[in-house]
């Protein structure tokens, strides 16, 4: 299981990459492994407002449906259309398969995101 050093994380197993005032969001390798083969991803609508810690979509695998949470507040400025055709990208390349991008109000990165070390610790304590 990999936890890239350049990303930030949430306890709900999303990863976040911040570039300027845009945050890019996906789910972690750990989450993808726990879910098993992903068959469907429901993403927030383009232009919609998402709220940190609130569900904004769904990730459906063979065995389960899980909420997708937004790690940040802001407007959805892009969604990954490739996932419509090939949701299994989430399993094969979890960190290059982003799900949606959010414009951060005032370009501020929330302070409560987890560092790679903190996230790794969280997944290990979860067994």
């Amino acid at each position: 299981m990999s936890v890239p050093a350049e990303l930030r994380y949430t306890p709900e197993h999303e990863w976040v990459s911040v570039d300027g005032d845009a945050a890019t969001v996906g789910i972690t390798d750990y989450a993808a492994q726990q879910l098993g083969d992903v068959v469907y991803v429901s993403l927030p609508a383009l232009g919609s407002e998402v709220t940190a810690g609130e569900p904004c979509g769904e990730v459906e695998s063979v065995k389960s449906v899980s909420d997708l949470y937004s790690p940040v507040d802001g407007e959805v400025i892009d969604v990954n259309a490739d996932l419509e055709d090939d949701p299994s990208l989430v399993n094969s390349e979890p960190y290059s398969t982003w799900m949606f991008r959010v414009r951060l109000p005032d370009g501020e990165v929330p302070g409560d995101l987890l560092s790679p070390a903190e996230y790794e610790e969280l997944t290990q304590s979860a067994g």
Binding site: G36, D37, V39, Y40, S42, E58, V62, V65, S88, N91
Partner: protein
């Protein structure tokens, strides 16, 4: 890993889709040691089972197997079973893990007036299944001369040696493919498993978990107790009326109620559906006709073979006879669904 009826079970070893396709095209190896083994022995063992179950077991030859069920007095299904006749006076009843206690208890009571002993032997057996078109050539490499696998009929079994260990080997399974189930001493299970993995690798055999087992049996239209079968379901509703042997002599538990249900005809029937979406119809989701609920999904999954989600559902017979446009309510969205003949998949012989 997941908890399943008190057992720690592998949901998947790698990817459930990969495991599923390996079983369809090569072979998969399953650890099914959670299944219950209940031995019914004695001069009247066959007669006791004829009374306790809805099948006719006493005329079955040694070395053969039957799919059957144990029903309650009211005709509801308590479990579906495979019964092997392992000797003239010995039957091995295979129960679902969650129902082993119920089946053992009911068989003990129902066999009370017969000269037959009932014993829960679940802890005495590990069960390893090898399923898929490569099952015969792979298993044959580790059974030596002890078994003629090619000659073994479907739903037959025999004692033999697997990786040098004594085992009951049966041509049965729950995947819709050719394959075998190997019942052995738990102390020998690791040796059996490792030998099959080693000799199967070249043929493309992979270890397969519960998730693949579920999608394989669903494609094959096979019921799962707790989903398609339960105490509130009769065999007729599950399209399994043929399993009820009304023509066998003597009484059996549930006969009267089942006869009434057979004469009346089922009010709902198990039906197959495919949906035109990637979203999965799941257990409990409503089936809609003209926007109105007319049934409920019992099992649903993406079908790796068909490439679309599939589901089995109980649907009111009065509605399905009108052949309406169906939909399945997938978390608030009515997704169009098409009635599809069961099974969804049948292997070419």
């Amino acid at each position: 890993m997941t908890d399943f009826a008190g057992w720690r079970m592998p949901l998947r070893y790698s990817s459930e889709r990969t495991e599923h396709l390996a079983v369809r095209h090569a072979a998969g190896l399953f650890d099914l040691s959670h299944m219950g083994e209940i031995m019914v022995t004695g001069p009247d063992a066959g007669a006791a089972l004829d009374y306790a179950l809805i099948g006719h077991l006493s005329p079955m030859a040694t070395g053969r197997a039957r799919y059957t069920m144990i029903c309650a007095e009211d005709g509801g299904v308590l479990d579906d079973l495979v019964v092997y006749r392992t000797a003239e006076q010995e039957f091995m009843v295979i129960a679902n893990a969650a129902n082993t206690g119920t089946v053992f208890g009911q068989l003990s009571v129902r066999a009370g007036k017969y000269d037959a002993a009932v014993r829960d032997a679940t802890a005495e057996y590990a069960l390893i299944a090898i399923q898929g078109p490569a099952a015969v050539p792979v298993l044959a490499q580790v059974t030596g001369n002890s078994l003629d696998l090619n000659a073994m009929k479907y739903y037959a079994g025999a004692f033999g040696e697997v990786a040098g260990q004594r085992a009951w080997v049966a041509r049965t399974g729950y995947t819709g493919e050719d394959g075998f189930e190997v019942f052995c001493d738990p102390a020998d299970a690791a040796a059996v498993w490792e030998a099959l993995e080693e000799f199967g690798a070249a043929a493309g055999l992979v270890a397969a978990g519960l998730a693949a087992r579920d999608t394989l049996r669903l494609e094959a239209g096979m019921p799962l107790y707790g989903n398609e079968l339960g105490p509130d379901v009769t065999p007729f509703e599950a399209n399994l009326g043929r399993v009820v042997k009304f023509d066998k002599p003597g009484d059996f538990v549930g006969r009267e109620a089942l006869a009434v249900r057979a004469a009346a005809g089922p009010r709902r029937r198990l039906s197959g559906f495919t949906v035109g979406s990637r979203r999965i119809p799941r257990h409990g989701y409503a089936v809609l006709a003209g926007g109105q609920p007319c049934g409920a999904v019992t099992s649903g999954a993406p079908s790796p073979t068909l490439g679309v989600p599939i589901a089995m559902a109980y649907v009111d017979v009065s509605v399905s006879e009108a052949d309406p446009e169906f939909a399945i309510d997938i978390r608030g969205e009515a997704v169009p669904a098409t009635v599809t003949d069961l099974p969804f998949y049948r292997r070419s012989k």
